[in-house]
Every structure is written in C-alpha cells, then in structure tokens.
C-alpha cells in the first residue's frame, strides 16, 4: 500500500538507496561547481586573473580555484588579454586540446573586441576563432567582474541539455 510521504527531505529508511532526479540536473550540478579554468594570460588581464585566484577574492568559493596549465585537464579557457594574430593559432590549438565539454570566457576589452588596439597586429576579438560563452568588460576588469562572469557561466551551464548532448556525435570523444 502506498502511503503519503510527509517528510520534506530524503529519508533513506523509507526510500532506500535511491535518489530520483533529472540527469541534466545532476550532470550540470557536477559540471558547474567544479569549472577548472585554463588561464590564457596574454596581457595585464592575466594579473587581475591572478588576483581573482588569490585569497582576497578567492575564486575557490565558486569551485574554480584549480587553475590548470594543461589544456587536457581544464574545462574553461579564460582568454585574459590582447590576442595578436601571431598568438591566435596557438590559442585555437590549445582550445582544441581541451576535452569536451568546454567553455570560453573572453576577459577584458582586448579579448572581446580588440580593445584599444585597432592595428594590423591585433585580432579584433577572440570570438573570431573561439566560441565565446561569456564576455567581461573592463580594461582590465576587476576580480569581482571575473567572479561575476564565473557565476553567469555556472548559470549558463545549469541550463544546458547535458544528457541529450552526451549522445550526440559531436560531443563524443
């Protein structure tokens, strides 16, 4: 006989070792709370990124303190600084080496639009070679802006149809 469960929380004595939820919720919960950044520090924005990683601003509060200098171990490339045409192919190659799922934050005016460098040597926005998820304004942005971008990134990840994407060909491997 089925009885009405009046308890608001999970009770293992009644329900056993089973949790019922949506796959998307679980996957996105795991992904969004441990974004390992790939710090692509190219200019002064890299210094502010280091500030965000330090004790005062403490990016660890959002689960992104594990800065990985290997693309194989990171989830989110933070392009922090001026993207020159000479550097652009290397950035793309590093991005290609990151395992899916992966995200990109364009940090600062230069990475977003070329910034004040309207010149022959500077790519006018890293979104010409990478699919950027979040743009941060500022020159350079303050660490709070990086944390804000990270929170927006988490919100975006939590809206993704991750379970469906698992079975799509382009997301395998």
């Amino acid at each position: 006989m089925v009885t009405a469960n009046k308890e608001a929380t999970y009770n293992s004595a009644i329900e056993g070792d089973i949790v019922v939820t949506r796959l998307d919720a679980v996957i996105n919960w795991i992904r969004s709370n441990s974004i390992w950044p790939m710090p692509m520090g190219l200019a002064c924005c890299g210094i502010e990124l280091m500030g965000a990683g330090g004790a005062r601003f403490d990016i660890a509060r959002f689960g992104a303190e594990v800065m990985r200098f290997s693309p194989r171990q990171s989830d989110c490339m933070i392009v922090a600084g001026t993207v020159t045409y000479k550097m652009a192919p290397h950035i793309r190659r590093i991005y290609d080496q990151m395992a899916s799922p992966k995200w990109v934050i364009a940090m600062g005016a230069c990475a977003s639009t070329g910034g004040m460098y309207r010149s022959y040597s500077t790519m006018q926005g890293v979104d010409r070679i990478l699919p950027v998820d979040v743009y941060i304004s500022g020159c350079p942005p303050r660490p709070e802006a990086i944390l804000d971008a990270l929170i927006k990134m988490q919100e975006k990840i939590r809206r993704e149809p991750s379970a469906r994407m698992l079975f799509k060909e382009e997301y395998k491997g």
Binding site: P89, S119, Y120, S121
Partner: protein
C-alpha cells in the same frame, strides 16, 4: 627645429664631426652635422658606418648601444631609409647620447652592415628593424622576424602600410581552415586612438578616437580608412 638646438649641443656635434672627418678623410664630405633637438647627432655614409661606429666605441668610450632604429622618409623619397644608432657612454660622458645616422643606398632593397658583432645588444634591435622596415642587416648572425611571424609578407612600419593592416592569411593554415578566420583590416571608426596633450585631466587626455561622428555602419563620406 634649428632654434631648438642648444648651443652646447651644436658645439659637441661640430667637435665630433671634426674628429670623424680627420679620422676618416676619404668620407669627410659625407660626415655632416644632423639636426637634433637634444643630443649631438651626425650623419655618416653607409659604407663607412661600421668603421666609424667601431672607432666611436673603441676610442670615444661609446660602449653601449641604447637604441637602433630606422626612418622611412616616404614612398618615393630618395634616400628613403635611414638607420639610426643611439650610442651611450657610461664611462666618459654619463648621460650623453650620440646619435649616428646613415642613409641606405638602395630605396627598394635597403641594406646596412650589422653591428651585432661590436654591440651584442644590436642583435634583436636589428631583427626588429628588419621586421618593421625590411632593412637587411648584412652580417647579422640570425636575421629573422622578431615581432611578426615568419612568412608575414609586409613590413608594418613602412609608410605605404596602412595602420589598420591588410587582409591576409592567418599564420597557421590549419587553424584558418578550421575557423575561417583571417587577418582583416582593423576598424578605424573615428580614426586611430590618440592621446590628447595639454593641461587636461586623465579622463580627458586618455587615448581615444578623435572623430566619432562616423562608424563602420555609418561611414565617413570621403574615404573610409584613416
């Protein structure tokens, strides 16, 4: 600019010119004083530049090369390219810089002897001057581009090269095929970013486009690029 040349500077320049003319009589008529607002400066012929610079280093104590650059006078000008060496003596004349300039003989394929052997500091400066102006420094141990990538077809500081750049291929053809990205001329809405001078506060003097009445969507009537 001649008003700006100080009396002591002129004296120092004529002293150096006289010394060099005495030491190098065969190129005496080509060793001339050079207009300069601050430091003494001399023009020397390109073929004697190496000997003169070595002499200045060994006999006059200019043991430091603080800068090496070039001037592009304009497309069609002759001589078109001038190489400039900034010499500094830290033992004899602390703080006094000597500027030595020599015109390149050819306007289309400029060449200049390398001074990397006598001042190792010249190595990267000459690579940069080669990269930006296309001046070949003969005898340089490793004359490759230093700022732009190998295979870049232009010399960006030449007068005919537009500030915005030119449409071109990315350094890496694989990445270009993957991303469809290319080198494009940078947007020049309102002209290049320039700083304002004068008695302004920091917010007013910071670099910005001077003419913001037009944009990429709403182009200026006469000629698109600045």
């Amino acid at each position: 600019m001649s008003d700006a040349i100080s009396e002591t500077n002129t004296t120092a320049t004529s002293g150096i010119v006289a010394t060099l003319r005495e030491k190098f009589p065969q190129s005496a008529e080509k060793i001339t004083p050079r207009a300069s607002a601050d430091h003494p400066a001399v023009n020397v012929p390109a073929d004697a530049a190496m000997a003169i610079l070595t002499y200045l280093r060994d006999e006059h104590g200019y043991e430091m090369l603080s800068d090496l650059t070039a001037v592009d006078w304009a497309e069609g000008a002759s001589p078109r390219f001038t190489v400039v060496w900034h010499l500094l003596s830290v033992t004899i004349n602390p703080g006094v810089c000597l500027r030595v300039a020599a015109d390149c003989a050819s306007d289309t394929e400029p060449e200049m002897p390398s001074v990397a052997d006598i001042w190792p500091a010249a190595n990267w400066h000459e690579r940069e001057t080669f990269d930006m102006f296309g001046i070949v420094f003969t005898g340089h141990p490793d004359l490759r581009r230093i700022l732009m990538w190998d295979g870049y077809p232009h010399h960006p500081l030449r007068k005919e090269f537009p500030l915005a750049g030119m449409d071109d291929e990315l350094p890496d053809p694989e990445v270009e095929a993957e991303t469809k990205a290319r080198l494009v001329a940078a947007p020049m809405a309102g002209g290049p970013f320039v700083a304002s001078t004068g008695n302004l506060n920091l917010a007013e003097s910071e670099p910005r486009a001077k003419d913001q009445s037009w944009s990429e969507e709403n182009p200026k009537a006469e000629g698109p690029k600045g």
